[in-house]
Symmetry: C2
């Protein structure tokens, strides 16, 4: 069901490494297929987009209007929800918006001692594409988490794409798009949707950045268009690492592991605890609870393939192991999480204390659920408002202030044999501008 | 020498498009070569690194210690500089540090109305690799601009790589590395250096992020390792767009165009002005000044290939054209730049007023000179301290605070058919943790 490991076992490092995400052995076939799709969409535009959508999503689309969802349809979807669902969605949207408002960055400027103005301008991106997975993973929460930060940043044009296999629209997804302030919804997906967003077609205006999770083809397509447009991150299988001191109800921890494992057979669920008896109790809870779960097949496969209950020497060692993995989700299910968190070097989101189930962060706590996976929390951050803002440096020299700067620039430019740079600076020292100052 | 265009010409859009950066037609050969080098370095480690360095840099390296520059050598280089150069380098370093200190971001947290703690932790990256171009483009200013923001962010381990064609070390580059707080210097470059930084070798510890400009091979290598490590941006040819109202000394503007063009034959220099007579005067200045320039061959080729003096209808149209191009460097050489800048939507760095030559920003004004090129200022920002910090979301629910969150998460999770998520939330509502609260 789920393997047991011990950090003191000489084979532990090898055993743990074997649980890492699958390598890139199959990736070159995906990359070639994606490259062909992107080239085709660049070449044939909407025609290619419709062809792929018919073929890959088995959706009955024959003309451009078939992939467009009218904005009135979004409001209808929201209005049509049961009151309880609508209330929950609205509460989640408000909480996510509140949290993200605190991430918005402002420009700043100052004058240096010589009177030159220096600063940084911060402006929203112009156009953003939001990818929302379709089919079995069509999640309204993804819409909120991806589109709301763009909305808070002030992005004027938010184009959402969501594949609709067999042409099925998800009412909750449309309702979430309504709450998130999306500008346009297109029922396309896969590498073809990423290509259309990056390069534009007859009916789709090219965006500046594409965000949102997707399958291997979507991830590869985002990687390939990176540079032409911005992307959020290269997403891999989802993962949780729980550090527990043995004081949390074992059923809660078992269910937290399940909640990660139910996403996907490739998802990873790890529990680290110094108490072997506690690991026994969690293992027993897993065996007892699994048969009750609707998604027990996926959970079982995920736990067997990549899950582990790991006995560590102590909590400090668990923190060290966590730092080496830089997990997407980290639960510190311990008595004093505020002390333990000080040692954490990299993690996408940190859930502290016994009540902070990862599932709360997935939906409504406020922070984003689009998080760096596969160890990339070493250098990536959660999706945020900052991903939808860009900065420009500001430099404004006065006639007086240019003197020290120009002299220094001249010396350094000549040291690099860039004499036009040097003379460009020196000219500002030698005389005043015709227009005066 | 340099073409003249008019924005009112029916062919203008086509003419301007023809000046865009070269397409990707030759890129697949580069990509394949780079992929082979990366695979080889991953496979053979230091041995491959030494082989490529001998072959491509014609450097006499035969063992691992041959590519390591002792840190004492950096201080010697600084101590050995002429006083004027040392002073200029130190002034530049201090100004760059001062500006970047203002970019450092701090974490924050708050309690929501239900008593849950929410926040964002901000921590420095652990290890960073800084790529510094070698040979004809070995620039000490690049060292300062790439390494200082990492240093200000608090990155503990900064590994600098700089190729040394024929084994030649650049004293100014080593001195700059000393001032910038670099931890280690290796005399390697090209795709092989990027591969070594991304994957590690016997002697090089893999880093979390690689920054710094380089040639087409370096840019492609960074693109290929993106995801395994972070990168700053995919750099293309450097470019300047100058908007002038006709009131600046034409010699100054000509020299500013030269200072961009002297970087590289592929660099781009554009001047936009509504006054045709002024463009005549700048063109005359170009013809008069070019023969004096040491790098006149490169400047001439760059201006002929990608430069243009463009008459626009008015300054507003010049701003619109600039927004469409999203230039790396933008000079607003006008009487009232603070008003004109309000209309700018995207640019890497904005130089305002007649005294603010781009060259000042390249060396010592304070802002970074590593800037987004080829229109990527639409979504990329200048290199900054924020590129060397990462964020983790913080979520800590109390026994009381979990109630609303748990109820909302349960409803939304069931709407997505993720019942383990739902039960994980519901369990926290049903009873208290064994450890109490």
């Amino acid at each position: 069901m789920i393997r047991r490991l011990d950090s003191q076992d000489p084979a532990f490092a090898t055993q743990l490494a074997a649980l890492a995400p699958a390598g890139e052995s199959s990736a070159s076939a995906v990359a070639a297929r994606v490259a062909a799709i992107i080239a085709d969409v660049r070449e044939r535009g909407d025609a290619a987009l419709l062809d792929y959508t018919r073929e890959l999503d088995r959706a009955p689309v024959h003309q451009r209007s078939d992939i467009e969802v009218p904005l009135t349809r979004l409001q209808e979807a929201l209005d049509g929800l049961p009151a309880e669902q609508r209330g929950a969605l609205e509460t989640a949207a408000q909480r996510i918006r509140d949290y993200h408002e605190r991430q918005r960055q402002e420009g700043w400027q100052y004058h240096d001692a010589q009177g030159n103005l220096l600063g940084q301008r911060v402006t929203p991106l112009g156009r953003v594409g939001v990818y929302v997975p379709g089919g079995k993973a069509s999640y309204p929460s993804s819409v909120l988490m991806n589109a709301l930060p763009a909305s808070v940043a002030g992005v004027a044009d938010i184009t959402m794409v969501v594949p609709t296999p067999e042409g099925q629209l998800n009412e909750l997804v449309l309702a979430a798009a309504c709450l998130a302030g999306v500008s346009r919804v297109l029922t396309i997906g896969g590498a073809q949707a990423v290509a259309a967003l990056a390069y534009g077609t007859e009916t789709i205006v090219a965006v500046d950045k594409i965000v949102g999770p997707g399958n291997a083809y979507v991830a590869e397509a985002k990687r390939q268009v990176f540079g032409r447009v911005g992307i959020d991150m290269v997403a891999g299988p989802s993962e949780i690492l729980i550090i527990c001191d043995g004081g949390t109800d074992p059923d809660w921890i078992a269910m937290d592991l399940f909640s990660q494992a139910e996403h996907d057979e490739n998802a990873q669920s790890l529990l680290l605890c110094p108490d072997a008896d506690y690991l026994d109790r969690v293992e027993a809870a897993i065996h007892r609870l699994l048969p009750e779960m609707e998604r027990r097949d996926i959970i079982g496969k995920s736990l067997a393939a990549r899950g582990a209950l790991i006995r560590t020497r102590d909590l400090d060692e668990a923190v060290q192991l966590s730092n080496a993995l830089a997990p997407e989700h980290l639960e510190l299910s311990v008595e004093d999480p505020l002390t333990l968190v000080e040692g954490i070097q990299a993690a996408g989101a940190i859930f502290m204390g016994r009540y902070s189930a990862e599932a709360l962060g997935d939906y409504c706590a406020g922070p984003n659920h689009v998080l760096p996976t596969s160890g990339t929390a070493r250098f990536f951050s959660p999706l945020g408002v900052y991903d939808f803002q860009k900065r420009s440096s500001l430099i404004m020299c006065s006639a007086e202030g240019v003197r020290e700067l120009g002299a220094v620039a001249s010396i350094l430019a000549r040291g690099e044999s860039l004499t036009a740079h040097a003379r460009s600076a020196e000219m500002r020292l030698a005389k005043r501008s015709r227009a005066g100052d």
